[in-house]
Symmetry: C2
Subunit: 208 residues, 2 copies
DNA sequence: ATATTATTTTACCAACTAGTCAACTATAAG
DNA sequence: CTTATAGTTGACTAGTTGGTAAAATAATAT
């Protein structure tokens, strides 16, 4: 009943675009509305607050990333290494085309919000924590596979290793954004592979 | 001539504290002044803008980190691995005591500003890029030492490896802040060591 | 002791912030 | 066609933002 609207969806994609390329605090409700062609009264008809929009934008970002990147790669029938490589290639291509398009590397929209808001908004922090846990789960599953296939040492701890890989992915994004250089991302796959290598195998002889 | 003042120093340390635990855009000039016990007119006597304060705060953060953490560790006469371990331990201790003190893990103040402002303020982005380059240089030097000592494969590319380690350090900080858990940082040393391990068969040293 | 200069203070600004509200309008369902 | 309801609109807060201008004050070098 009543009339229908696309305002909510438009606001969410504007939030992804504007907050994603700048920051939460640098983008105001008014700008979000102008960019969406929505009046401020409508904004507050659909969202109790700017924070609630951001929470929904975070969900949308994560779903897009899952559907367009994670699921296609991790559901495909390729080797664990190739899965990491595929993620690295997709990440590079994404940052690279963003740079071509708007002139700057924007990094990971989720990681950006994580650093900006984790100490300021507990609800948003928890949402991002959940997203990161799901994201790391993709890595963990493939690490378990690799251990079972004998491609990785049985000494590898899947959980902490998957978190380390996610940390590395986020760190590389941060470097790419800071240097405004997509090429920073091209080292991603090599580093991910190295993090997987269990230390214990070399404990006897080598120092590092 | 004229009178002397500590206002500038007080403003810089307030900036490090307040912007470091929240964010650039979340902390206003007025709050910086109140926290320093300095009037706004004095603020603009010493700094042309909030951005200029931030630039000086960034310098101060980097110098503190160098003097208190990097130099003591990297100038000491311990093995490369132990140097990485020492950095990891100091990072953990710092985040841990911050959490005890103010209730949250704040991560790396420089990395926080990097993600918040890199796409918005080119001058600040460049300053952080320079800091990261100096920081990576510490890692690069020790990697070269390790190669010369035979502790690391001669195939290791010191430059890209040092950047990868810095990426990992920043990524781990990001995870620690997002999960609000200093224990995230304790995996730091293991990951750093693994990133150093060169895959001996890699074709050529890719650029970063 | 004075002139010089660095610093402090107060009051101010225009633009912007997130958020509110009540009147208005379009529409889908009965 | 009516009515209930979902969505739209524009005007409006109250507080904050970064930044300015000029007068007042304190210290220092001469």
């Amino acid at each position: 009943m009543g009339r229908t609207s696309t305002a909510k969806e438009k606001l969410i994609s504007s939030a992804i675009e504007l907050i994603g390329t700048r920051s939460y605090n640098a983008v105001g409700v008014q700008e979000l509305c102008d960019h969406s062609g929505v009046k401020k009264g409508s904004f507050y008809h659909f969202f109790p607050s700017k924070r609630d929009l951001t929470l929904e934008a975070l969900d949308a970002m994560w779903n897009m990333f899952k559907n367009e990147t994670l699921d296609p790669v991790f559901n495909s029938d390729i080797s664990p290494v190739d899965k990491f490589n595929a993620i690295a290639v997709k990440s590079y291509e994404h940052q690279s085309s963003t740079k071509d398009c708007i002139g700057c590397v924007t990094g990971c929209g989720i990681g950006n919000l994580a650093l900006e808001l984790s100490t300021q908004d507990e609800i948003i922090r928890q949402k991002i924590e959940q997203i990161f846990e799901q994201w790391a789960q993709y890595f963990e599953d493939v690490i378990v596979d690799a251990i079972n296939d004998g491609d990785l040492s049985v000494d590898t701890d899947p959980r902490s290793t998957s978190q380390a890989i996610l940390a590395y992915v986020e760190g590389v994004s941060l470097m790419g954004k800071t240097f405004n250089d997509p090429n920073m991302i091209s080292r991603l796959s090599e580093g991910m592979a190295q993090i997987c290598i269990s230390k214990k195998k070399t404990a006897a002889g080598e120092r590092m």
